[in-house]
């Protein structure tokens, strides 16, 4: 089951893959390329991933989300390559017996993905320039190790 793909993402694919008759609720989150970033016009975007680790991070995050929130299903896909405005870069689908769990689990999954998934986005601005967005250092970087030490291993 591929979680990092160059193909356009479709919500119904994830819903079909997570069908579960015990569930009364689903939540799908989608991250979409929007036409602005920090006040600048955006024409498109390109995503790259470190594939071997990215697949594993998503697989583990699905399992962690299921166990942590007691939801029945969690499925995550992230797109790479060039994306147009309005296209989805990431989809998270969660299913549970009751709706509150799906909302909570879905939000956890996307928030955590943003801190762990080795994916980078390069904005193409409407003025013709481009640039990588800065982000969150992954664990094991000096920055996170120092922060962790400074917080007294809390």
């Amino acid at each position: 089951m591929q979680r990092i793909t160059e193909a356009p993402l479709d919500v119904n694919t994830l819903l079909a893959e997570t069908e579960n008759d015990t569930c009364g609720a689903f939540v799908v989150f989608g991250g979409v390329v929007r036409n602005h970033h920090q006040g600048r016009g955006v024409a498109g975007m390109s995503y790259t991933a470190y594939g071997p680790m990215a697949e594993k991070v998503l697989e583990e995050l699905e399992q962690e989300t299921i166990q942590r929130f007691g939801v029945a299903e969690c499925r995550i896909m992230h797109r790479i390559g060039k994306l147009e405005i309005g296209e989805a870069s990431v989809l998270v689908a969660v299913r549970s017996a009751h709706r509150a769990d799906s909302f909570e689990a879905g939000q956890y999954a996307i928030d955590t993905l943003k801190e762990r998934l080795p994916v980078w986005k390069e904005d193409f601005y409407t003025d013709g320039s481009s640039g990588y967005q800065d982000g969150v250092p992954l664990e094991t970087s000096e920055a996170t190790e120092t922060e962790r030490g400074g917080r007294g291993h809390e």
């Binding site: 991250g31 995503y47 790259t48 470190y50 071997p52 680790m53 697949e55 594993k56 956890y108 928030d111 955590t112 943003k114 801190e115 762990r116 998934l117 080795p118 994916v119 980078w120 986005k121 990588y132 967005q133 800065d134 982000g135 969150v136 250092p137 992954l138 664990e139 094991t140 970087s141 000096e142 920055a143 996170t144 190790e145 917080r151 809390e154």
Partner: protein
């Protein structure tokens, strides 16, 4: 020789997707490779504190020994969009 691969903004900074680092011996840590890299590509220095390293599917720490048979992969900060913080340390 160890294959070092760059992702994200590091490809721009290094001007390449990968380069070879000459290992003095087989028993070398991630930290030692990065020290060598700072000398070979000074422009990387400012980025390295916020870079994580991986081999294969897994992150490796600065103090870990490097497996010379597979590339050392340098991963800059990820695409971000900060979480609300409520999930940290829980």
């Amino acid at each position: 020789m160890l294959d070092v691969q760059f992702y994200g903004v590091l490809q721009q900074v290094a001007g390449t997707r990968s380069l070879q680092v000459d290992l003095k011996d087989d028993d070398i840590t991630v930290d030692q490779v990065l020290t060598q890299l700072r000398q070979d590509v000074p422009a990387l220095s400012a980025h390295l504190p916020r870079v994580a390293c991986a081999q294969g599917e897994s992150l490796v720490r600065r103090s870990d020994a490097v497996d010379p048979r597979q590339p050392l992969v340098l991963l800059p900060p990820v695409s971000g969009g900060r979480g609300p913080g409520q999930w940290r340390n829980t």
